[in-house]
Symmetry: C2
Subunit: 214 residues, 2 copies
DNA sequence: CGGGGCCTACCCAGAAGTGGGTAGACGCGA
DNA sequence: TCGCGTCTACCCACTTCTGGGTAGGCCCCG
């Protein structure tokens, strides 16, 4: 595996530890060259213009400019580069946002080094790479898209969440306990693959499940 | 003040304590007649059809059907009745929702009995009654409406709140501490008269301050 | 009659948000 | 120069949410 031309990789992560660790590990592979590193998406763009990487490995959560937003900038300014997102979260929201914005891969930070190397090789070769948990999340979304998978009770709960009611208030309104409200809330998040209450609200408004009127 | 025809009042509150207390107090006034009481908006509607009250004093937070939603039902089914909302909250959201839906008054539960009686008299006479804190909230809204009163930094914060980021994540993104994020969040709520995070999100989406794209 | 979905309810521990404050630094404009 | 708004930061006590569970009762469908 030593005769292949080196794959030029640009690393972007605001955690120096991750950055240095990744760099050290990747440089043990003959066919991978870490062409540059950056702690911010903007810096990464500048460096990218100089080093012209084939693969950009970028953290999804970064100060100033999020990795998600940065994907499009890279695709505009460095169209030959393929972007792989690195994330701590397997939230379907993050994943599908990344894919929508043009990421060629999405890997979780807890995967093995080998998998990261595989991802780099794959996307450098024009493919896409998603780590296993990620793939599940995407499949789940496709299976459900266009439908409204919520039960009537979950609609009630979601509507009240959007209205800004607390678990306790929702419980009072529906005549159940707040424990049950919490269960419904948890089920909603799990079912929709949305990690945050804010995401639930945007989902509900998007889907027209509830009206914006208070 | 004894020769006036009695004002027929319907009380609706899901707290029996409040209901009974209000009834007892109001019945000490010669010119007020408690024509009926109910613990739910639906029940209140049914009773209202029978007793034809001039004034409906209704709690804003009730199981099954919220007071806000019930306002329109009353206005449709009992057009001669004027609805006064009773609320524990001086949130601008609740208040303006009530007014939008056609409430003739809005009083906080911590006001004096005299003020409640005044409110009943006023709306029975065709006027509107809002307790002092409420009036402030409405004035504040008018003064600001159509403008965007937020500072640039508050925009940043609000955008990230809508994106579902936690205080800690927002702090990391903006390079500040989470304490500061909390301060901004508090200021946002205070400035906008919105009590809940959900309300902030809906405000932001309504105003187009942030895009729906994640 | 079994299985599965739904609704309900509870357990726990830890994380996060809330809602009052106060306060310093900076810059802009009167 | 003084005041005001802005951004920053911290204090406290309290409430709420989170994210794992488990589990019983109900009803419908096969």
């Amino acid at each position: 595996m030593t005769e292949r031309p080196k794959i030029r990789v640009l690393l972007i992560d605001n955690h120096p530890l991750v950055l240095d660790g990744l760099k050290a590990v990747l440089e043990t592979f003959d066919h991978i060259e870490v062409a540059g590193t950056a702690g911010l998406a903007q810096t990464g763009l500048e460096i990218g213009r100089q080093v012209l990487p084939q693969v950009v490995l970028m953290d999804i959560n970064m100060p100033k400019l999020s990795g998600i937003d940065a994907i499009e900038l890279f695709r505009n300014e460095l169209p030959q580069a393929r972007v792989v997102m690195l994330s701590m979260h397997d939230s379907r929201e993050y994943i599908s946002s990344s894919v929508m914005h043009g990421a060629a891969g999405y890997i979780l930070k807890d995967v093995s080094t080998d998998e990261i190397v595989s991802a780099i090789e794959t996307v450098a070769g024009g493919g896409t790479y998603f780590s296993s948990g990620v793939f599940d999340a995407l499949m789940g979304e496709r299976a459900e898209e266009g439908s409204d998978p919520l039960t009537p009770r979950e609609h009630d709960i979601l509507g009240l969440i959007v209205a800004g009611r607390s678990n306790k208030e929702i419980a009072e309104t529906l005549g159940i306990t707040s424990a049950t409200t919490e269960t419904h809330r948890k089920n909603l998040k799990k079912k929709l693959g949305i990690a945050t209450t804010a995401g639930l609200i945007r989902y509900a408004l998007d889907q027209g499940i509830v009206s914006k009127a208070g």
